[in-house]
């Protein structure tokens, strides 16, 4: 427990390290393990925020009723672009992936993708923008060489 506690103190600012240090010295008379991990963790630079991800900023400022154009009119996304405010990945349960060794670059998937989530410029291999892929599987069904594979992205566990 004591090394874990040391790591916890180093990472968070909920409890002051000194207060805990005094308590541990008084009760357990064993500060060695605690200090060791606390010092070690302080040396590693961990960015703030959960899981080491960059900090979450304030929520984006949304337009007020008078700022919004009437009838929810939105300008079209420029050619070759995608709507940065409306990503459609959240309904996906199956995630397609491409085997580039099998792919013949025929553009069939690029034509059939109903969400325009596949990028394919010139002679390049297709790549999927997973922010917009809904996992519908149309690319898998239409691939003439079976270069597409799919795997279950979310696993539901039934509690018994």
């Amino acid at each position: 427990v004591l090394p874990l506690l040391g790591a916890f103190v180093a990472e968070s600012s909920i409890v002051s390290e000194n207060v805990l240090r005094d308590t541990i010295a008084e009760k357990y008379n064993n500060l060695e393990k605690f200090t060791e991990s606390a010092t070690l963790l302080k040396k590693i630079k961990v960015p703030k925020g959960a899981g080491g991800r960059p900090p979450i900023g304030p929520p984006p400022k949304l337009p007020t009723a008078s700022e919004m154009p009437i009838a929810v009119v939105i300008p079209s996304v420029p050619s070759q672009g995608r709507n940065p405010n409306y990503k459609t990945w959240s309904s996906r349960t199956y995630k397609p992936s491409i085997d580039l060794d099998t792919c013949i670059r025929c553009k069939t998937c690029w034509i059939f993708c109903p969400d325009g989530a596949i990028d394919m410029k010139g002679d390049e291999y297709p790549s999927i923008d997973y922010n917009y892929c809904t996992g519908c599987g149309i690319c898998i069904n239409n691939c003439p060489v079976g270069a597409y594979d799919t795997r279950l992205e979310m696993k539901q566990e039934v509690l018994t």
């Binding site: 949304l62 337009p63 007020t64 009723a65 008078s66 919004m68 154009p69 009437i70 009838a71 929810v72 009119v73 939105i74 300008p75 079209s76 409306y86």
Partner: protein, 399 residues
């Protein structure tokens, strides 16, 4: 001076609305037959056939398709006209709702007709009133002249950049739509002066691709409702402006919200909507001859509801008799829709008069002088006792 070029003809309400469509130079007319609205569709088809004006005339597959066509035409910047009656209006309800939320200033004629079943052609106001909450404006004509004037006014008000919401001109089935009245048909020059061309700031066009009304989550839906609320609050001002301008150009006076018939010194006031005004006026004249101080108020616009006008007109009267040509089963006191609106309007008044409700003329049963005499008797008793004996009376029904 303004009358130059205007002419007078004996025509039905449907034909007079068709004349308004011709004069407003409507671009797209989407039609699907249902009586009594069909009268307009026929008259417009005849005018187009005779080359009186030019427009795209689309007969839809159903009322739902019809209202969708009208809405889409409006979105690409075309002035469009639609219309229906009874169950047709109900079938188009989905398209009717999005016409308002897409801010398409379509104008529709509703030939008020009883909802099926049983199938009937007579007047009832329920089909219109069930769409009262979605942002459409509803005005009610009581004769052919008013049907024409309100159609012209509706285009002007709806297409105002401050509003951009659709309008329905309601006309009682057969009584207003199919009875001939002498109607003054204005000249094209007059209408052109009154009605500016329709301009839309967000036009659907391939040169400037836009998405209108996409699927969006709670981050935006609430704000779009507020936008419509903001526009609706501006409607009374725009309506008054349009009416002032109308009377200048066409030399006809119109109170924008209420027809007040002998109301100045009236102790007792009857209130109703639509063609019943003819019987109401006759009964008011007869009762005045007998020395009774009665008056009649016809509500010409149901949305926006003339709340302030009615408050100042009705406070401190001895009794109010509300005549509903509609029903609202299970509503407070089991009264009609207009009754509920009026009670709510007068709730904050310290000296509110007693209100008694009459359900009359359902299914097109004529509201006659005798109907109004019966209504008057009960309203007088209500005034004497300072409260209604019964809240709601069904008049002229075999009960």
């Amino acid at each position: 001076m303004n009358q130059i070029g205007a002419r007078k003809e004996l025509i039905t309400g449907c034909v007079s609305v068709a004349h308004a469509i011709r004069l407003a130079d409507v671009d797209v007319i989407s039609a699907y037959p249902i009586r009594p609205y069909t009268g307009v569709m026929n008259a417009v088809a005849e005018m187009l056939g005779a080359g009186s004006f030019d427009a795209e005339y689309i007969v839809a597959d159903s009322e739902h398709g019809q209202f969708e066509i009208g809405k889409h035409a409006s979105m690409v910047g075309a002035r469009s006209f639609v219309g229906s009656s009874g169950v047709g209006w109900a079938y188009a309800a989905e398209a009717i709702i999005i016409t308002a939320s897409n801010r398409a200033p379509v104008v529709a004629l509703v030939g008020n007709r009883a909802l099926d079943d049983p199938g009937a052609f007579g007047t009832e106001h329920n089909e219109t009133l069930m769409t009262r909450d979605i942002g459409w404006m509803f005005s009610w004509a009581c004769d052919a002249q008013e049907a024409m004037d309100l159609t012209l006014l509706s285009y002007r008000i709806s297409e105002d950049p401050r509003i951009m919401l659709p309008s329905a001109v309601c006309a009682d089935g057969s009584f207003t739509t199919h009875i001939k009245y002498p109607v003054e048909i204005p000249s094209q020059e007059q209408v052109d002066r009154f009605l500016p061309p329709y301009k839309r700031s967000f036009v659907l066009h391939p040169d400037n691709p836009i998405t209108v009304a996409p699927q969006c989550d709670d981050k935006y839906v609430f704000e779009t409702r507020k936008q419509i609320d903001d526009a609706v609050r501006k409607e009374p001002l725009v309506i008054e402006e349009a009416h002032r301008n109308f009377s200048k150009i066409f030399n006809r006076q119109h109170d924008p919200f209420l027809e007040k018939y002998f109301t100045d010194d009236a102790d007792i006031i009857f209130i109703g909507i639509g063609s019943m005004a003819l019987a109401a006026r006759a009964s008011v004249r007869e009762l005045r001859n007998k020395g009774e101080k009665v008056g009649f108020v016809r509500i010409k616009r149901f949305r926006p509801f003339p709340t302030e006008e009615l408050r100042s007109l009705l406070r401190e009267r001895r009794a109010i008799g509300v005549v509903d040509v509609d029903f609202s089963f299970g509503s407070p006191n089991h009264g009609g829709v207009l009754y509920q609106e009026l009670r709510s309007t007068l709730y904050d008044e310290p000296d509110k008069p007693p209100i008694v409700n009459f359900i009359a003329g359902l299914g097109g049963r004529p509201i006659t002088l005798n109907t109004f005499m019966e209504i008057a008797d009960i309203t007088f008793k209500t005034a004497e006792k300072r409260k209604p004996e019964k809240d709601v009376y069904w008049i002229g029904v075999r009960a």
